[in-house]
Structure formats: C-alpha cells, structure tokens
C-alpha cells in the first residue's frame, strides 16, 4: 500500500514537472525568443489557458503527499522552510507577471512584467532542481525526524549541508537547461514565423549544454550518494531508465532541427520523466535520506498515514484522477493548434 502511494505521488510530481515545466520554460526563453510585443503576447497566449491548470498539479501532488505521507510532508516542508517560501513568492510573482502583462496597457509596465515573468521562471527552475538535489543528497535529520537547513554552508558537502552547495546547484542548472529546452520546444509547436524559428533555435543550442550537464549530474550523484546504485544492482530492469533518458536526448537532437518539434517535445517530456523516475527508483523506499545517520532516514514506511486512510484513498483518488484526465484531454483538444494573435486588442 505504501509502495502504491509512493508511485502515485512520484507520478503526480513527474506530471507536474512535465506540464508546468513547459510553461516555466516558456518564461525562461521569453525575453530572447520573443522580441516584439506581438510575439510576447503569442507566448503568453500559448500558455495562458493552461498554466494555472498545470500548477494545480503541484497543489494536488502536494495534497496527495500530505495525505499519504504526513510525516514526510511535515519534516521536509518545515526543514526546507526558507527555500519553499521563496518558491511561493516566485510562483506569485510569476502569476503576477503573466496575468497582469496581458491586462496593463502602459508599455513601461509591460517591460517590467516581462522581466518579472522571465526572472521568476528561471529562478523557479533552478530552485526545483536544487530541491531534488537536496532530497537525493540527504538532509541533516535528527532522531525525531526533523531538520532545519540553512541556505548555504560554504558550498561543500558533509553531514550538515546547506540548501545550496555545488551538487544542488548543479542539479538546479540541469533543471534550468532541461526546462529551457522543454519550453522552447513547446513554444515552437505553438508558434509561427520568426518566433517559431527562434524557439527552435534555442532548443537546438541548449541541447549540448543539457547533454553535458546531465552526464555531470549522473556522475556527481554516484559520488555524492553511492547508495543510489543499490536498487539498480538489485533490480537490473532499472537500467532501462537511463537508456530511456539517453534515447530521449538523442531523439531530441535528431528531431528538433528537422522541424519535428512535436516529436522532440515528446522526447523532452520522456527525458524529464526518465530523470525523475530514475531518482525515485534509486531512492525507494527512502523518501528523505539522512546525512547525519542512515537510521534517521525517512522511508515510506515510517512516514505513511494509517492503513485505513490509505485504502480509502485509493477509491476516491482513482475516481478523481479519472475525472481530471478527462478534463485535461478535453481542454487540450479545445486549445490545440498554433496561437493566433489578432492585431490590436
């Protein structure tokens, strides 16, 4: 039962990153890819109807995490107190940037909201990557299962690390480059003309950086937490995950320059999913490793809610998930195709 919920939460978080990832990515490439006001509005219109629906996945995944593993939610959210609050502020700034850019007529303010949208998107990508880096690296849990991490402690690893060190910043940069690619491909699908060409160009240019950083991060992870290999040794089928990751990378660089951005976008989604699923597979059944003492690590077993609650949850969760998928299929069908921005208003 705990394993099932672990899979559900991992899948929901992955869906969140793939979906919100492209609109965050659209924000990262926004200033470079879209030069004219009309192009900027095209980018905003491409994500306008879907971005807050995508963000709902974060809330739903967070809610599900809270429900299934309350102790994990309590420990990790309070331990990552400051960075999570900053994530909240960035999410707010981003919402302000997107929504109010479309409504405020004065050009001065448009530039301001453009900058807000870009900065908050880029920082969010880095923060999310660094967060995953923290989870893989481990945090200084005490015997009661709590911790409190300072923001930085001189960039080095150890039993009492900070939120930001070279490893987590590397993870942040991987996230930044992968979402840049992901967002650029999405905008390429949704646009035409110069905007289309620039978005596709950004995807192609970012790819070598992404490839290089991916390899760095995998190697670094092996040295930071050798235990990540245990599950792969025990269950060799797991080796499929890195194969999918690299196959997806190959498909991206093959498809993007040929104008097959839909194929490349699917490959990029697979790449992101593969990276996240690979991390989850490596951690299982641990959900938050302790850097202090391995016995303090939080696992799905010592953090899960009571059995009755988890069983009941399967019932309503399945119903709700089926409904949610139905809405989203319907929504994307209504808004498929390139964005048209009419002249004037």
């Amino acid at each position: 039962m705990e394993t099932l919920w672990f899979i559900i939460v991992a899948v929901m978080l992955t869906v969140y990153v793939v979906l919100d990832g492209f609109d965050i990515g659209a924000g990262i490439i926004y200033l470079v890819a879209a030069k004219k006001d009309q192009e900027r509005r095209a980018v905003l219109k491409a994500i306008g109807p879907v971005w807050d629906g995508n963000e709902v996945w974060l809330l739903a995944a967070g809610g599900t995490l809270y429900f299934a593993f309350p102790q994990l939610y309590a420990s990790s959210f309070s331990g990552f107190y400051l960075p999570l609050m900053m994530v909240l502020w960035l999410l707010m700034l981003r919402a302000i940037g997107i929504e109010f850019r479309l409504h405020v007529p004065a050009p001065v303010w448009k530039d301001f909201f453009d900058a807000v949208f870009f900065l908050s998107s880029a920082l969010l990508a880095i923060f999310f990557g660094a967060a995953l880096g923290n989870v893989i690296r481990g945090v200084p849990l005490n015997a009661e299962g709590y911790f409190f991490e300072p923001l930085w402690t001189g960039w080095h690893l150890g039993p009492h690390p900070g939120i930001l060190d070279w490893y987590t910043v590397l993870a942040g940069l991987v996230a930044l480059s992968s979402l840049t690619c992901h967002g650029a491909l999405y905008i390429a699908i949704k646009s035409e003309g110069a905007l289309y060409l620039r978005a596709r160009g950004i995807a192609v240019l970012t790819w070598p950086i992404l490839f290089f950083l991916t390899i760095c991060s995998l190697v670094a992870t092996y040295f930071v937490r050798p235990a990540v290999m245990n599950n792969y040794r025990a269950h060799p089928v797991g080796i499929l995950i890195p194969i999918v990751v690299f196959a997806a990378l190959a498909v991206m660089i093959w498809a993007a320059p040929k104008g097959k951005e839909k194929v490349a976008f699917i490959a990029s989604s697979l790449y992101i999913s593969g990276m996240l699923v690979g991390a989850a597979f490596a951690l299982y059944p641990v959900v938050l490793p302790a850097s202090t003492n391995p016995e303090y690590s939080l696992t799905i077993y010592n953090t899960a809610a009571g059995h009755h609650g988890l069983v009941v949850g399967i019932g309503w969760w399945s119903l709700a998930a089926a409904l949610a998928i139905a809405y989203f299929v319907f929504l994307y069908r209504m808004f498929k195709g390139k964005v048209q921005v009419e002249q004037g208003h």
Binding site: P49, D52, F67, M92, F148, G309, F335
Partner: protein, 446 residues
C-alpha cells in the same frame, strides 16, 4: 506566549485572512454568474449576457489572486505547523488531498474554457463550463470546511500510541454534522458578499447614470440574492451553528458572549466592553434571558459562563472573540434590514429612482467582507487554545525547528507581497468597472 508560537499564529492568520477576501467573492459570484448566463441563454438577452461576461472578468482576476494566495496555505501546514501536520495529517490529509484532486482540477480546467473559450464553444457548452467552475469552487469550499470542522469537532479518528490521529471512518469525516452546517453558513456568507458587491457596482452605475440597463440587472439580482441569503445566514444556518457551539464548545460560547458568570436566564449582550481584569462587561446594553433562549430554547435555561471552566481552556483572547462575534451578528442583522428595504422598493418599482437606497447599496460593499472575516475569526479564535478541539493544543502544533526570526522574516515577506497583490487587484478591478459591461462601449475604449 512563546514568541515563535505567536509568530506562526500571526503568519497563518495574516495569510489566511487575506486569502479569504478572494474566495468569498469567487464562491459568491459563481452561482450569480450561472444565473445571469441562464437568463441570458434562455431569453437570448444581450444585457444579461454582457452582465455575465463582465462578472466573469471580475471573477477571473479575483480567482487568480485567490489561487496564488491559496498555495501558501497548503504549504504552511508543513512549513509552519509541522507538528500538527505530523499528528493530524492521517485525517485531514484526506480532505486536503481531496480538495486538490476533485476541486482544483475541475475549477482550473473549466476556468480556462470559461474565460477564454466562449468563441470556440457553443452557448450551451459555455454555460456548462460556468456550471463546472461554480461546482469546483463550491467543492473546494466544502473540503476546506470539512478540514476545519474536523479541527472544531473531531470525528472518525483513532489515536496511535505516539498520539497521532489516524482515520478510522471516512464517512464520519465526510458526514461530520459540524461540517455541513458550517458549510451552509459559510457559503451563504459568500453569496452575501457576491450579491452585495453586485448590487453595489450596479448602484454605482445607476447613480452615475452610465451602463444603466446593466446597473439595473446588477441591482435587481444582487438585492434578491442578498435577501434570500442574508435570511438563510441567520436561520437556519447561523442558528444551528450557534447551537452546536453551545453544545460542543461551551467555553467558546461563554467567550463569544463574554459571559463571565454561569447563570440561569442568561442575558444577551448587545453592546459592551469585556473587562478581563474585573471579569465583567462594562457599559452593557442587555436583552434579559435572551442568551438562554437562543442557546437552549428555554428562557430560564442554565448557561455556563467562563467561571465554569478552568482558565487554561478559555479561548485565549476573549475580547477579540467577543468583538468579532458581535460584529458578525450585528452586520448580519443590518444586511437583512438593507435587503428587505431594497426588496420592498424593488417590488414597488421605485428602487432604481430611490437614490438614497442606491447610496446605501453602494456604500455597503465592504461590510460583507468584514462580516465574513469576523465570522472566521470567531470560529478560529473561538477554537483556541486548541488546534484539534479538546485533543491537541495550538502550542504543541507549530514547527519547533523554525525559529521566531525565520517565521517573522517570511511573514514580513508575505505582507510586502500581499500589499502589491492587493494594489494590483484594486487597479485591475477598477479598470473593469470603468470600462463597464456594455460591449460597444468597451470596444470604443480600447
């Protein structure tokens, strides 16, 4: 009080109070927009259709602020109240996760269609998307109330040896009687906000002689809905809520009424200032025996005052509780009076010319917000000193490892952020009101 506890309480109080300014209008406007669209669709009425679109624009702005200020609340269960989350997550994780899974997906998926899809959808499909958005926002409200109701009146749980709560009966949690009455009371309060805001904007248009035909629709819809729901707010929902407090939270009732001494035939205080030092009401204006009657339906019923309870289970801020409760009830009574008066004028066909009444409607706009906020403060301050009533103290629930300084840092950050959000909200809504609902005028503006 422990300063970290104080900071974490203020942190949640500030963010939740600011947040709830927006959902109350979202949830209150949603059924009114559905109503406008229904009339517009059935009669093919241009004014009603334009009115629905106008309020949908206001709804959209309001919704975005509601979402972005709502996310921090879910986060704060973990960040600022981790000991509470660890203890109670086995139960309230259910309702909070259900909100995400059932309500947010529904709302957000159809809000996109509702706001951006009118040209792509058939009128009927667009009407359905409005209904779906309304249902989503009301479902969301239910799951939050069910969570709060469990904290007020815990049911369907068992406790593990380490003291944490585990769900033992899903249906008891869902069918908690406290949740259903509180939900009815709260939603009716939200519709009061929606109706008074609608009537107020309508009155503004009528008084300033612009968008007159839309203004009439707004005033008419707002006044009629305001009448229905301000009556429902008092009876049965408020009445039943009060009785449940009397039965299950007697110390809270004593605090709300600032009743220091237990007595038969207890009076109801209309106005007066609780004096905690001398344990009395200063300058009281009383209705004799009324409190006994309202709580127990007997004029001479014995009502327990604060003296019947040890001081460590008293609500920790009796004057605040007392004032908020009295503000809520007082304003609720005034809303009924305004709504009856305006309805009589509407019925006799004089409302749209009665400038004094339109002025009252215009000026009434902020008061439902105050009443709803005061009502929530009554419920939550009244629950103190407990997080889970009678079982888990607030002082045992906050994140012990997050220091007061860290908490204050982010509280100040939220204050800054919400000031900006509030200003932008006012700016954007003002623009919509200035443009007005008439679409030919809108085209001329841009």
């Amino acid at each position: 009080m422990d300063s970290a506890l104080l900071v974490h309480r203020l942190h949640f109080a500030f963010t939740v109070t600011f947040h709830y300014l927006f959902p109350q209008l979202t949830m209150g406007l949603a059924p009114l927009i559905v109503w406008l669209k229904t009339v517009g669709l059935r009669n093919n009425d241009r004014v009603y259709n334009e009115a629905a679109r106008f309020w949908a624009r206001i709804f959209g702005i309001n919704f975005v602020i509601g979402v972005v200020t709502g996310i921090p609340l879910e986060f704060q269960f973990g960040t600022n109240w981790s000991h509470f989350s660890k203890a109670a997550g086995g139960v309230i994780g259910q309702t909070l996760a259900m909100e995400g899974m059932f309500a947010f997906f529904l709302e957000s998926a159809f809000l996109g269609l509702f706001l951006y899809g009118e040209k792509r959808l058939s009128p009927k499909a667009h009407w359905w998307s409005a209904v779906a958005v309304c249902a989503g926002s009301w479902l969301s409200g239910f799951f939050i109330i069910a969570t709060d109701a469990w904290m007020q009146y815990p049911v369907g749980y068992s406790r593990t040896p380490d003291g944490s709560f585990q769900l033992s009966s899903f249906w008891h949690l869902m069918l908690n009687p406290w949740a259903w009455w509180q939900y009815a009371h709260n939603m009716s309060g939200a519709v009061i906000t929606g109706s008074f805001v609608m009537a107020s904007i309508g009155a503004f248009y009528l008084l300033s002689k612009q968008n007159v035909e839309h203004g009439r629709v707004f005033v008419k819809t707002g006044v009629i809905a305001g009448l229905i729901f301000s009556v429902l707010q008092l009876f049965p929902t408020g009445d039943r809520q009060g009785k449940m407090v009397a039965e299950y939270q007697p110390a809270t009732l004593a605090g709300m009424e600032a009743l220091f001494q237990s007595q038969p035939g207890a009076p109801l205080v209309l106005i007066g200032q609780p004096d905690m030092e001398n344990r009395q009401i200063d300058n009281p204006i009383l209705l004799p025996r009324m409190l006994s009657f309202l709580s127990y339906r007997r004029w001479d019923a014995h009502v327990r005052g604060l003296d019947a309870f040890p001081q460590d289970v008293w609500p920790c801020n009796v004057p605040l509780l007392y004032y908020c409760y009295h503000i809520m009830v007082g304003l609720g009574t005034i809303f009924i009076a305004i709504a009856i008066l305006a309805s009589l004028l509407l019925w006799s066909g004089k409302l749209f010319e009665a400038r004094w009444m339109l002025w009252i409607l215009l000026l009434s706009l902020p008061f439902p917000y105050i009443a709803n906020t005061a009502g929530w403060i009554t419920a939550e301050v009244g629950r103190q000193p407990w997080l889970v009533y009678g079982l888990l103290r607030t002082a045992d629930g906050y994140s012990k490892q997050v220091s007061a300084g860290n908490g204050l840092f982010t509280l100040i950050g939220f204050m800054g952020m919400y000031t900006v959000l509030g200003l932008l909200f006012i700016f954007l809504v003002r623009r919509e009101v200035e443009h007005g609902p008439a679409e030919s005028a809108l085209a001329a503006h841009v």
